[in-house]
């Protein structure tokens, strides 16, 4: 029996962990962390086992499913909505990413959260998240993906708002959920459209479709809607605003959910649907454009942030833009490769940032500095991550970014230019961060910043190693492996690895330039940072960037004045107008009944009472006949008899 046949257990294990940790460790919070690590570790082990079976490449996809909803008329054929799992090469890749990062983050959290009283809740939610995220990548149809899609959003909400006493955390959690929900309803609409077009949600049936060009044009709208879901989840422009705020959550959460896994769900979904997207050039163009714009815009926003985690958050958004761009220009393998590499180096960067925050107690880069001596492991691993992200040759980020740049250039020079500029920005903000945190001398207030415990540094070291070596899979057949998930018609013979020297040169140059400028400005002091804001143009640009280009403000205005104002107006309408009419009718009826009442009392009752009163009066007079003296009655009787006799006589 192949291990893959038990792959349905993979999400079940962490979900069981959720129950055990959530309901079993209230009394013993110490245990919660290690229990969570155990459960996630078990899931990771199984995931790795499954992935290894798929490593050789063209292994047959594995699918099982059960009916979930059955409806329609029994004849000829009822409609069945199923729930099931599908394991192919893409799934295997995602399983490893989620499993590895999830496990390392859980381990890291044992140290990071050691003193938090809410640990059981934290680790339970982590387990829940890992479970549903694994479920998401295993799902065999759009409906199930949507279900898990929402559930990872729920976990994200719960973890961003983990420190719920903090108003900003609570607000950020809500914002994240709502902004992604805008994307979610687009996705929902998209898959409903797809269903009505093809009568199935199943990936395998949908992806094996090969439509005529006219028929394919009907795909564009559903696909754009599906992409809308991805835009929300993967924080692409214009729905990127939630991710930087999401940094209110504990740092390991940022690493796991908001860098390595959940935000990749959008990219994963587009990749999963790639055989459909590939048939709709319009949809692909949108994907590429949004990706490139996001990559550049987020990178530029990262230039001015002072919060160490926000810089990384913008970086994540920007890198997700790269992946989208890659998918948009048809470089499926490159996108997945970047996703794979990025998961490790970005998780590494976040965990390093967490280590720093753990030590100095603040997120503000201005209150750090000089940590290179104090935190040698963190500083070294973070440097590796930064170099990898910046795209320095030899580290993983270089290989995948280079592939993406090459693919962009082959499709559209403008897109290429945008992401090349983004690469320059990336290198700059990463080293700005690194120098501000680790260079020069300490500027903060914490008494004795010191290196983090082993449970935290161990994951850093493992991730650092992964951030270096993950890129070399490119030369060990990554392309062939990942293309195994695509239908036959999209495979163009043997993949060969080539590095375009022109693109590579440009990319390396951009990275080096960025690093050098950052070094000059924030380390050696050869360049005053103030020169960036000198002059009206530069100052204006800077202001715009600090103001996040107005996205937040516009959304806030829309929500506050538009939606809330409308709601308040409608509330007034309901109370005054709708209920006013109702109460008016009520009052009118009461008035009418008052009138009726008056008529009743004065007119109708008047007649009745008049008759009664007359009768009473008459009776009052007549009563005197009743004297009570028998003789009187006798007289009357006699008189009456006499009268009757007289009448009888008279009548004859």
């Amino acid at each position: 029996m192949a291990l893959v046949e038990s792959s349905w257990l993979i999400p079940i294990i962490p979900l069981a962990g959720f129950l055990v940790v959530g309901f079993g460790t209230r009394r013993v919070p110490r245990l919660s962390g290690w229990l969570a690590v155990t459960f996630v570790g078990a899931a990771l082990a199984l995931s790795l086992g499954v992935a290894i079976e798929y490593l050789p490449g063209h292994t047959k996809p594995f699918e099982v499913e059960r009916d979930w909803i059955v409806y329609g008329s029994a004849t000829p054929q009822p409609v069945k909505l199923s729930m099931g799992i599908l394991v192919d090469n893409l799934t295997a890749l995602m399983l490893v990413v989620v499993g590895v990062v999830g496990f390392l983050v859980a381990l890291y959290s044992v140290g990071y959260m050691a003193h938090d009283p809410g640990r059981p809740r934290y680790f339970a939610t982590i387990c829940l998240f890992v479970g549903v995220m694994l479920g998401l990548v295993l799902a065999n149809n759009y409906l199930l993906v949507f279900i898990f899609w929402e559930l990872v959003g729920l976990c994200s909400y719960l973890l961003i708002g983990f420190w719920y006493q903090k108003p900003s955390a609570a607000a950020a959690a809500k914002k994240a959920f709502l902004v992604t929900r805008v994307g979610d309803i687009l996705l929902l609409l998209g898959i409903i459209l797809l269903f009505h077009e093809f009568n199935t949600f199943n990936f395998k049936s949908l992806m094996s479709l090969h439509l005529e060009p006219e028929a394919a044009s009907r795909l564009t709208l559903p696909l754009l809607l599906v992409f809308g879901g991805a835009v929300g989840k993967s924080a692409q422009v214009p729905l990127h605003v939630w991710l930087p705020d999401a940094m209110e959550g504990p740092t390991p959460v940022s690493a796991l959910i908001h860098a390595a896994t959940m935000v990749k769900a959008g990219v994963y979904l587009v990749a999963r649907s790639f055989p459909l997207f590939e048939q709709s050039p319009d949809a692909l163009l949108w994907v590429a454009t949004i990706g490139a714009v996001t990559a550049l815009l987020a990178a530029s926003l990262g230039l001015v942030a002072w919060d160490i985690k926000r810089v990384l958050a913008y970086s994540t958004v920007s890198q997700l833009g790269y992946m989208m761009l890659a998918l948009g220009v048809g470089a499926y393998g490159a996108a997945m490769f970047h996703l794979w590499n990025h998961a490790f180096f970005k998780a590494l960067l976040f965990l390093c940032a967490g280590s720093v925050i753990h030590a100095v107690g603040t997120n503000d880069l201005r209150l750090m500095g000089g940590l290179r001596k104090l935190m040698p492991i963190t500083s070294l691993t973070m440097l590796i991550g930064a170099l990898s992200l910046s795209g320095i040759p030899g580290l993983s980020g270089f290989f995948s970014k280079d592939e993406i740049l090459a693919a962009a250039l082959s499709k559209n020079p403008l897109l290429f230019a945008m992401v090349l500029l983004a690469a320059l920005f990336t290198a700059f903000y990463m080293f700005r961060l690194w120098y501000l945190a680790f260079g020069r001398s300490y500027r903060g207030a914490a008494a004795h910043p010191h290196e983090s415990p082993a449970t935290m540094t161990l994951p850093l070291l493992v991730l650092a190693i992964l951030a270096v070596v993950s890129g070399y899979w490119l030369f060990a057949g990554f392309g062939g492996f990942i293309n195994g998930a695509l239908p036959e018609r999209l495979l163009h013979g043997e993949e060969h690895v080539s590095i375009n020297p022109l693109v590579a040169g440009a990319s390396i140059l951009a990275a080096l330039l960025g690093i050098l400028v950052a070094r000059a400005a924030y380390s050696t002091g050869k360049l005053k940072p103030e020169t960036f804001t000198a002059g009206p143009v530069r100052a204006g640009l800077h202001r715009a960037l600090v103001g996040k280009l107005g996205f937040d403000r516009a959304y806030y205005a829309f929500a506050e004045r538009g939606v809330y104002g409308y709601a308040a107006g409608q509330g007034w309408f309901d109370r005054r107008v709708v209920d006013g009419v109702v109460n008016g009718i009520g009052r009118g009826t009461v008035g009418l009944s008052r009138g009726t009442d008056w008529t009743d009392m004065k007119v109708i009752d008047g007649v009745i009472n008049g008759v009664a009163r007359a009768t009473v009066g008459l009776g009052g007079r007549l009563k005197h006949l009743q004297s009570g003296v028998v003789s009187h009655y006798g007289v009357l009787v006699i008189a009456g008899v006499a009268l009757l006799l007289a009448i009888a006589w008279a009548v004859g």
């Binding site: 009563k623 005197h624 009743q626 004297s627 009570g628 003296v629 028998v630 003789s631 006798g634 007289v635 006699i638």
Partner: protein, 102 residues
């Protein structure tokens, strides 16, 4: 038999009239009771007269005897009522005993 029926009837009518007048005009209850006796006697006289002159059947005389015994019973009950009346009202004047009036 020189006494014609008409004379007997006239006597009877006179007796009846006397009785009626007594019942209606007197206030003493005892006198009223006596007047009633006179009325009954007038009736009995009629019964006997018609029995002798008219039908020649003894039935009328039987009824006269019944009426006399009834009158005795009635007198007894009447006296009992007057006794109670006197106890409660200290009087047997029918004009004063007017509790049944409006």
């Amino acid at each position: 038999m020189a006494l014609p029926l008409t004379d007997v009837l006239v006597v009877s009518s006179l007796l009846f009239t006397v009785g009626i007048c007594g019942v209606l005009s007197r206030k003493n209850a005892l006198i009223i009771l006596m007047s009633i006796e006179v009325l009954l006697n007038a009736a009995s006289l009629n019964f006997i007269a018609f029995s002798v002159y008219g039908t020649a059947s003894p039935l009328g005389q039987v009824w006269a005897l019944v009426a006399i015994s009834l009158a005795a019973a009635e007198a007894a009950i009447g006296m009992a009522i007057y006794m109670v009346l006197y106890r409660t009202h200290r009087s047997i004047d029918v004009a004063e005993v007017n509790v049944m009036r409006w």
